[in-house]
């Protein structure tokens, strides 16, 4: 194992001592009542934020807890708050976010902290269930497969947001979630939007009722932080706007 300096207390002097070959990184340690602690990590070419966290865990403090899996932007496990903004750390290069040469990495906001950089994602996925984000089939295995035209309006609406990887970045970035813990959040509502537009799905009446109440899609203020920070460059705000229109139309028709 390489011999690297142990944890260093954060101070202006540490920052002054930083060289071009090193990077200073503050990591959240502990649970809700924790604090940031600062480490020095060697700088590498094409280094990602996840590389930095992994370095600290492998070489400086093995008790550091964090979550990752694929390391290539598919699984959505490694999102953290990097210099104040939620990001997927495996695809975020240090050179893009550490303008001052310093990184501050914390757990995702708006979610309970388990330990260090790992948050409890249960409230996030609970809201998927509350938004009725589960496919309701209308056919059996003996029926013919539904033909969906790729150029249909509904299919295009699904295509626009179907690549969500459930990383929680939008949920963490959302001011409305911060203010109102009952708000379902961008990811759950975007999932609901894909099902509302799924021609094979038969659960829209219950789904629209689930998202039309208090804490549902109408709670969104359209701040658009979700679409600004979504690592997949999806636009949850547009999906939520679609749900607002769809539920309003259903209400006016007396269906809700």
């Amino acid at each position: 194992m390489l011999d690297y300096p142990r944890k260093q207390a954060e101070s202006g002097k540490d920052r002054m001592n930083e060289t071009n070959s090193q990077i200073s990184v503050s990591l959240w340690r502990g649970a809700e009542d924790g604090r940031y602690e600062t480490y020095t990590v060697p700088k590498r070419e094409s280094q990602t934020v996840l590389d930095v966290v992994t370095f600290v865990q492998r070489h400086i403090d093995t008790t550091l807890s964090y979550r990752f899996a694929c390391r290539v932007g598919v699984c959505g496990s490694c999102a953290m708050t990097v210099n104040g903004k939620p990001r997927w750390t495996c695809r975020t290069h240090v050179s893009k976010v550490a303008d001052s040469g310093h990184l501050e990495i914390g757990p995702l906001e708006n979610l309970p902290i388990i330990k260090d950089l790992a948050t409890d994602m249960e409230p996030f996925f609970e809201k998927w269930q509350q938004a009725d984000g589960v496919f309701a089939p209308t056919k059996t295995r003996r029926d013919a497969i539904e033909q969906i035209r790729p150029d249909s309006m509904a299919r295009k609406a699904v295509d626009a947001v179907i690549e969500c990887i459930n990383c929680g970045v939008c949920y963490s970035a959302c001011d409305t979630v911060r203010w109102n813990e009952d708000y379902l959040g961008p990811a759950a509502l975007t999932r609901a939007w894909t099902l509302v537009n799924d021609e094979r799905d038969g659960g829209n009446k219950a789904r629209l009722q689930a998202i039309a109440g208090s804490g549902g899609c109408h709670t969104c203020h359209s701040h658009q932080t979700c679409q600004e920070l979504c690592p997949q460059t999806l636009n949850p705000t547009a999906a939520i706007a679609g749900l607002k229109r769809r539920t309003a139309a259903a209400y006016l028709k007396g269906e809700l």
Binding site: W179, N180, S214, H218, K244, T247, A248, Y251, L252
Partner: protein, 109 residues
């Protein structure tokens, strides 16, 4: 905010957009023509059109503002939704009463 409040707030906002423009145009007309209070009252007294126009305006404002106050209270204060709804209802009724009193003075007094 739920879909019922959303529809009423957006609906009253859509209604108020042309009403506000007409209201501003009337103010510009009255000031540029140098109309006195007596001149204005002579045009509005007994007018069903002005009563209906400002009656609709007052109703839209009262509903729209009350829903907005409810949202602000429920999002920015520790007040629960039900209490916020009651405060907003009282606020809306005060606005409506004040507006209708003004219309009474403009058209019927």
């Amino acid at each position: 905010m739920n879909v019922r409040l959303y529809v009423w707030q957006r609906g009253t906002a859509a209604l108020m957009a042309p009403l506000v423009l007409i209201h501003i145009a009337v103010i510009f007309y009255a000031t540029r023509q140098g109309l006195s209070a007596a001149d204005i009252l002579s045009r509005t007294r007994g007018s069903v059109v002005w009563a209906a126009y400002y009656g609709l305006f007052v109703a839209a404002v009262s509903i729209h503002a009350a829903i907005g106050v409810r949202n602000i209270l429920s999002e920015w204060s520790p007040v629960h939704d039900r209490s916020a709804g009651r405060v907003a209802l009282a606020f809306g009724l005060i606005l409506a009463a004040a507006g209708l009193r003004a219309i009474y003075g403009l058209v019927f007094a």
